[in-house]
């Protein structure tokens, strides 16, 4: 059986560390976007236009990620194609 003390401290104990973890993630992501070149959103839109000529995808299906590994920058493109629709077409 849970003691009253456990009950009282149960929810409080870890919220500060949850806050810290969430902030670490979001800040690093926001820093990556801020430091990246300005053309990324435009590149994403143009890619959408090109791919849309052949199949239907949403802007969300195109993931662009710029990562820094020391001096080396890696531009990662990930385009998810809809499977079912391809077969029907």
């Amino acid at each position: 059986m849970m003691s009253i003390l456990d009950y009282l401290t149960r929810n409080r104990k870890k919220t500060a560390s949850v806050a810290k973890e969430r902030l670490q993630l979001i800040l690093s992501r926001e820093h990556a976007t801020a430091s990246g070149p300005d053309y990324l959103p435009a590149l994403q839109k143009e890619l959408l236009a090109v791919v849309s000529k052949y199949t239907h995808i949403d802007l969300d299906d195109i993931k662009i990620n710029l990562e820094k590994d020391g001096d080396c920058e890696i531009l990662e493109l990930n385009i998810a194609l809809p499977e079912a629709e391809n077969k029907v077409a």
Partner: protein
């Protein structure tokens, strides 16, 4: 040489105006000729916190538009004759703020003041951008709370990219972290971000920690900056902060949970 210091945070309600008022008053108490400017056009409040709301005749926008001289608009503090307040306009819209217009006022202030404190409005609109643009140093006011920390991080990015110093490639603005509304007991129970966490996340030097205290509300009720309340923890914490800003090395106080004795429990502090 004069210094322009912006008090900013991104998020509203974290204690920018309280900090501006106490910081400016504290500098004046130590003999530095200080001006404090309210950049919150349309939502003037620094005058209330400084207790000079009934003496406002002209405002910042009047000066920019040439409708009043700086001398006419500056309000001399009743308690310290080397402290002046430049109130924000209550009616005009913030389009009145041009880089050129604000720059001229700042330049004129630089001629006769040691410190020019710019009390920024919340957000990242025109008023906030103008408040930080001419800064030499910045106080980043942050509450131990997720949205405040995120917004402070955003403001740090803007200081490093959109300020005059950044644009002209000069030495970057010196950034100082000010943590307000800190509650040692809630940090101890793990329900509030600790100072080290905030410092680690934002990566700037800590200038001061102001404990959560009823004295801040009482000070604003009375229109007397809390730094003048020498008995309260908050007042003393602001005095410490100003000493550190002026180069003294002082340990942080009021960071530990106070073990309250029976009498203290009974009567509070």
């Amino acid at each position: 040489m004069s210094k322009v210091v912006v008090v900013t945070s991104g998020k509203g309600g974290v204690g920018k105006t309280t900090t501006s008022a106490s910081f400016a008053t504290g500098l004046a108490m130590r003999g530095h000729k200080t001006a404090v400017i309210d950049f919150d056009v349309g939502l003037r409040n620094l005058d209330l916190i400084m207790g000079c709301e009934r003496r406002v005749v002209y405002d910042f926008v009047n000066v920019i538009n040439g409708e009043a001289s700086l001398k006419q608009a500056l309000i001399r503090d009743k308690a310290h004759d080397n402290l002046f307040i430049l109130p924000a306009s209550q009616t005009r819209d913030k389009d009145a703020f041009t880089t050129e217009g604000v720059g001229k006022v700042i330049d004129e202030l630089r001629e006769s003041f040691d410190y020019i404190i710019c009390d920024s409005p919340a957000g990242i609109e025109k008023g906030a951008m103008m408040a930080l643009y001419f800064a030499d140093e910045a106080l980043i006011v942050t509450n131990p709370e997720v949205s405040s920390v995120r917004d402070s991080d955003r403001i740090l990015g803007i200081l490093g990219a959109k300020s005059k110093r950044a644009e002209e490639g000069l030495e970057p603005i010196k950034e100082h972290l000010v943590i307000t509304r800190y509650s040692a007991s809630r940090v101890a129970t793990g329900e509030m971000l600790a100072i080290e966490d905030i410092q680690e996340l934002l990566g700037i030097d800590l200038l001061g920690v102001i404990p959560e205290s009823g004295a801040v509300l009482q000070a604003s009720n009375a229109g007397v900056p809390v730094v003048r309340d020498e008995v309260s923890n908050s007042g003393q914490a602001y005095q410490d902060l100003i000493s550190r800003f002026l180069g003294e090395e002082l340990p942080m106080r009021f960071l530990d949970t106070e073990k309250k004795g029976f009498l203290k429990r009974l009567f509070g502090t």
